[in-house]
């Protein structure tokens, strides 16, 4: 009896692979499984191998793993590429139409099933993936009713005939599997019956942004961030907000700067190439002290790189990008739920500290689908902080044109006024300026303004660093972003082997929360920094600002694929010696 199983479908892009995966994920989520769905796709529209992996469990799952119980193959390439991941005793359900062959060495069972043929017989030749769902239901011992329900939900609008065709397709697949596999299937523990929503990280982030009051979104399409714009353009108008697809990323970020100056909560979302184009404007927001939220859904760089592959390699640019020296905050969500919550922090911090906040997401977090608990997204838990906005009263005493927008305060934070509010007029500028915003090159003023801007961030509290695991770990795993789930599973596996391992997850990457890290780094004998990049950017950041050279080790991956728990476990064992 499995309490966890994994399924995969593979075929050519444009063949409905994505919708197959979505259907299964939804059905499973409705039955009370915790589900994680991960797509592998490439930068082309039709053709080319693609796969969708659904992992389901009676416990929360936060990452894909390598073991597949059932592989649905729409072509031979899928068997060749993905077959080796099928567990011993697992099933490969392959469309007879391409005459599937098991390559030598695979211990899986081949179910040679006429998906195309059965679909045709159902009256709907496109229902191949529904036939596959039927076979899936058999192999994983799933009830068919939830599939029926979903079919009705999806195709009900198209009329009873279409529904009936799909149901026939589903059942024919089930029957075929039943007749041919003859009981060779997995028994799985039932889900808890609670239906949970299953969403992409990009959507959770979009919802978080809306909920946090974002009403202006300007962006330029780019994989894997476009979802955010596309989701918001459908939803924001319901809340009076607006989304503009701009002519490029420079226009996108500067539109947000304008909106931020005017007092709206505005954001843009992009990936590496767009983020690079935004560097100059980033410095403007920092210098003119304009709140701004940028989501960077990282993908494999450099340059155009591999647009559909994951990486966490923009960290250094997030922290050190743009010329000169200017404050910014970098936050990284490491769970789907936090993809939602972190947007509140992003907008709150941007407003309070009047500076750009960069949310470091990545392709895996962005385009993976995961179930979340309804209660996990709870608006009563969030705060709403808009920072020091001078209202009419505060401005009443100001002499015309003399509002000190950039007054040199102890905290470094100065009051800001919003266009439309009387007496608050000032000049916001990226040129070095006097407290009024007017241009000056006075050396003392220069130092005062530089120090003021830098000082702002020194009052930042609570980086949100989380710790899991042993009290006195032999090895400390340090992670951020989407690797969280894989690292946790690795830690648990090591724990199960009796190893003392801890796991520290950064949430605020910049300013580096040294106070939160230090006790753990001090205690640990060795530290393994896990990151999806080739140079160990987080590790270097820690070295630069905190030292610990001798303790720090790296677990790096940069072939475009996410870390699997086992890989981290192996590397950890290697480091522990």
């Amino acid at each position: 009896m499995l309490n966890e199983f994994a399924w995969m479908v593979g075929g050519q892009q444009g063949e409905g692979i994505e919708s197959s995966g979505d259907i299964l994920a939804t059905v499973l989520a409705r039955q009370g499984y915790h589900v994680y769905g991960y797509r592998v796709f490439s930068s082309r529209i039709k053709g080319g191998h693609t796969s969708y992996r659904v992992r389901a469990s009676t416990r929360p799952v936060r990452t894909p793993n390598e073991d597949i119980h059932l592989l649905v193959a729409f072509d031979q390439e899928t068997i060749d590429i993905e077959g080796p991941q099928v567990v011993p005793g697992g099933v490969i359900a392959a469309d007879s139409h391409f005459k599937p062959q098991l390559p030598p060495g695979l211990s899986a069972n081949l179910l040679d099933i006429p998906l195309t043929e059965l679909a045709k017989e159902s009256g709907n030749p496109l229902a191949r993936n529904v036939v596959a769902m039927g076979a899936t239901a058999y192999v994983l011992s799933l009830r068919l009713e939830p599939f029926h329900d979903l079919i009705r939900d999806r195709w009900g609008r198209k009329g009873e005939e279409v529904v009936a065709q799909n149901i026939q397709a589903l059942e024919s697949g089930y029957r075929f599997a039943e007749e041919n596999l003859k009981g060779l299937r997995f028994e799985v523990e039932a889900g808890d019956g609670r239906s949970r929503p299953a969403l992409l990280g990009n959507y959770l982030m979009s919802i978080g942004a809306m909920a946090a009051g974002c009403r202006v979104m300007a962006a330029y399409p780019i994989t894997p961030a476009s979802d955010i714009m596309e989701y918001l353009v459908r939803k924001l108008p319901q809340y009076g907000g607006v989304v503009l697809q701009m002519e490029d990323e420079i226009a996108a970020i500067t539109t947000c700067i304008g909106a931020g100056f005017a007092g709206a909560r505005a954001m843009t979302a992009t990936a590496g190439p767009g983020f690079s184009l935004m560097q100059e404007a980033l410095g403007l927001a920092a210098t003119a002290e304009i709140p701004l939220v940028i989501v960077d859904v990282q993908r494999a760089g450099p340059s155009t790189g591999m647009p559909t592959k994951v990486e966490q390699s923009d960290l250094m640019q997030m922290i050190y990008g743009t010329h000169g020296e200017s404050p910014r905050i970098v936050l990284a969500p490491s769970t789907m739920e936090d993809a939602f919550y972190i947007m509140f922090d992003a907008f709150n911090l941007a407003d309070e500290y009047q500076c750009p906040v960069i949310v470091a997401s990545d392709l895996m977090l962005g385009v993976s689908l995961q179930t979340v608990e309804d209660e996990a997204l709870d608006l009563s838990q969030v705060e709403w902080r808009r920072g020091h906005v001078a209202g009419e009263e505060e401005l009443a005493a100001v002499k015309a044109g003399n509002f000190e927008r950039y007054s040199v305060t102890a905290s470094g934070i100065s009051p800001r006024s919003l266009p439309g509010v009387p007496k608050g007029q000032y000049l916001a500028t990226g040129v070095e300026h006097a407290p009024t915003g007017k241009v000056t090159e006075n050396p003392q003023n220069r130092v005062a303004q530089m120090d003021k801007r830098a000082r702002k961030l020194s009052s930042l509290k609570g980086g949100g660093t989380r710790y899991y695991g042993a009290e006195d770990p032999e090895l400390l795993l340090l992670s951020f972003g989407s690797t969280f789930g894989a690292v946790e599973e690795a830690r648990e596996a090591l724990e199960a082997l009796g190893k003392k391992v801890g796991h520290l997850v950064l949430r605020r990457l910049w300013p580096l929360p040294a106070d939160e890290l230090q006790p753990y780094l001090d205690k640990a004998e060795k530290v393994l920094v896990v990151e999806l990049n080739s140079t160990g950017q987080l590790r270097h950041l820690v070295q630069m600002h905190m030292g610990y050279q001798e303790k720090l080790h790296s677990a790096l991956k940069y072939n475009g694929l996410p870390f699997y728990p086992r890989e981290i476990q192996l590397r950890a064992e290697e480091v522990m010696g």
């Binding site: 500067t254 304008g258 909560r265 439309g420």
Partner: protein, 290 residues
Amino acid sequence: MAITVTMADYRTAEKSWWCPGCGDFGVLSALQKTLVDLQRLPHEVAIIAGIGCSGKIGNYINCYNIHTTHGRTLPVATGIKLANRDLTVIAAGGDGDGYAIGMGHFMHALRRNVDMTYLVMDNHVYGLTKGQVSPTSDAGFITSSTPQGNLEKPVRPLELALASGVGFVAQGFSGWVPQLIEILKAAIEYRGFALVNVISPCVTYNKVNTYDYYREALTKVEDIPGYDEKDRLGALKTVMEREGLVTGILYREEGPALEDLLPGFREEPIVSQDLRFRQEDLKALLEEHR
């Protein structure tokens, strides 16, 4: 409660960094006078300035000002207008700012048609960086970066704007402030994107396109018999034949601005709306993913 806005309201205490005689003085005073004539309150006006001598304008006019990075006035202005549609939004910059590094945004702002005025102080040269060629420099113009004369065809902003389909295209001359004021009034009152290219001589680095030169060369469209500001092709023809040396409102066509078309966009500015989400809203959104 009749508050009366006067010129004093639009002045600042800053000493000007412009050279004596710079065309931008004329533009500044025309703009101030326009705002006074329109009785707009300084805090309800946002000026978005670019980088250049022209971009310094924000130091000298008392309203909400933002000085962007070079060439980015138009998207910044777009963001401001979207966030607070009650503001009078005026983007202002130089010919280099708007037609070189800012060219992409210019062409797209023309077609996006957000309600704002774009005032370009066109001196056919880069002033602030000390006299290099600009996109509007005449062919053959000698500068520090074209010591043997400009080899490129000048950008013709009026023709491009007319060809782009935008609804308001005008040209003024900082030597003719009264006409400029009338143009600016119409531009600010126009609902949509209004281009006002202003010929604003640089007395330091452009010894060719001088006040005197323009006083001779320019024709007001009012003085062209039969000129019809509703005829796009006719306007294009006039501008082409006269090589851009015309002032006045060249083309005007009423039509909705982007804000009037945006789905769900409210009369009340975004910045004044209650932005809080309710748990029900959230629930409804999650429901779609079940």
